[in-house]
């Protein structure tokens, strides 16, 4: 069995090992720098506070942990102009606290929109369900968008919920 291009079969799709090293574009030279588009700290959903100034009336990006590593231009194409919270729907504990915090973002921070970015693996879909549940419980209503990302960083779907 070779050590590259090994792909195990079966088991959890979110944890299935994939070697993507030989699918990287050939001859690509990575040079230059881009400024960070992050305009807040912290970012983890357990740590952020709904009353933080960067959430007031903001467009918020709720991103599954792995997404930013999959998308080469995450800061430029997705984070720019948005406030951020990250979470893992599979491994993080305290989902009820997450739900309450998201509801508070809608009702108290009066956020403008919520865009949920998840990976294509099935375990990630729980983050969108959590967000929809939280928005459903809020008094205010806001538009919610879902973006699903492939392990190769492509946007597989982008739609309003």
């Amino acid at each position: 069995m070779t050590q590259t291009n090994v792909q195990t079969r079966g088991g959890c799709a979110g944890a299935r090992m994939m070697d993507l090293s030989d699918t990287a574009p050939e001859g690509e030279v990575l040079e230059g720098t881009r400024p960070s588009q992050l305009r807040q700290w912290p970012v983890q959903l357990h740590l952020v506070g709904p009353m933080a100034p960067y959430f007031q009336n903001a467009d918020v990006l709720l991103v599954a942990d792995c997404v930013a590593y999959s998308i080469g231009d995450f800061h430029k194409d997705h984070l720019a102009g948005n406030s951020l919270a990250i979470a893992c729907p599979k491994l993080d504990s305290g989902s009820e606290i997450y739900r309450q915090k998201l509801t508070a973002l809608v009702d108290e921070a009066k956020i403008n929109t919520l865009t949920v970015m998840t990976m294509e693996v099935p375990c990630c879909a729980g983050l969108l369900r959590l967000a929809q549940s939280a928005v459903g419980q809020a008094t205010r209503k806001i538009p919610v968008k879902s973006k699903v990302v492939s392990v190769r960083g492509e946007i597989l779907s982008e739609e309003w919920c």
Binding site: T113, I142, P143, E158, E159, W160
Partner: protein, 267 residues
């Protein structure tokens, strides 16, 4: 060819009827449009055909206008692989407008029944007709069209031909409603029936233009943040209305449906 690309599509089709057939073949319904002031170049832009379809359509149009000319067939470079499809549905505020169209379409579907009753009855049922006018003015116009004119169109070019066409449709619809009211006051059945039928035809075509062309066109240009702002402004405008709106108008349509069709089913 440039002068024809910048020409209003209605006179273009009248001069070259084959152009209308070609547009219809590509799903572009300019032939039945009663306004027809969109330029051909705008029509092509609003419909966002695939590059190869657009090139082929323009080739056929040029051949129709200049049959004796040797027009080269377009060579469109396609990407090596088609991009993975990214599907975007109507944004939530625009979807709300599409959903409101369903109630207006229910009324339009009942107009033939209303006209039939007018023609068959000894007396005009002015109460029914004025209630219908109240639905049109209160729901179709104040509740629905004002969201378009006062809010949604802030996020697009109001001078774009498709938007101007929509404004003209709104004005013509308001004129027809005034004529309907006048016909009721004058007890003029012929004018009443004619204006109701004209209103139905105008709004049917108008709703089709909005759902299939205008709304997707505006939606493509809206940023996520703008969608949120439009959504919030729609909510605020509706919160400023009386508590029973839009429910009273929706109930009117249900009762009208029951009266003429014996069932309260919203399709």
């Amino acid at each position: 060819m440039d002068k024809y690309i910048k020409m209003d599509v209605k006179p273009l089709i009248e001069t070259f009827p084959k152009v209308g057939e070609i547009l219809e073949r590509y799903g572009i319904g300019c032939v039945p449009c009663t306004v027809g002031t969109c330029k051909l170049e705008d029509v092509v832009k609003f419909h966002t055909l695939l590059p190869q379809d657009e090139a082929e359509m323009m080739f056929q149009i040029e051949k129709a206008i200049y049959p004796e000319r040797d027009v080269p067939r377009p060579q469109v470079q396609l990407a090596a692989e088609p991009p993975r499809p990214r599907e975007i549905t109507y944004s939530p505020p625009v979807r709300r407008l599409v959903d409101e169209h369903k109630w207006i379409k229910r009324l339009l579907a009942l107009i033939p029944d209303i006209v039939g009753e007018i023609r068959a009855s000894d007396e005009i049922d002015s109460e029914l007709l004025l209630a219908t006018v109240d639905f049109i003015r209160g729901y179709a116009d104040r509740f629905h069209h004002l969201k378009e004119e006062d809010i949604l169109f802030d996020y697009t070019d109001r001078n774009a031909t498709i938007v101007q066409v929509i404004f003209q449709d709104h004005d013509r619809a308001r004129g027809l409603v005034r004529a309907i009211v006048q016909a009721v006051e004058d007890d003029d059945r012929d004018a009443l029936c004619s204006n109701l039928i004209n209103y139905r035809e105008l709004l049917t075509e108008h709703i089709n233009k909005e759902d299939k062309i205008l709304y997707p066109y505006i939606d493509r240009e809206l940023t996520t943040s703008q969608v949120g702002k439009v959504f919030r402004r729609f909510e605020e405008s509706e919160n400023g209305l009386a508590d029973d709106i839009p429910q009273k108008y929706e109930q009117f349509i249900l009762s009208l449906t029951d009266r003429f069709q014996g069932e309260q089913v919203l399709q």
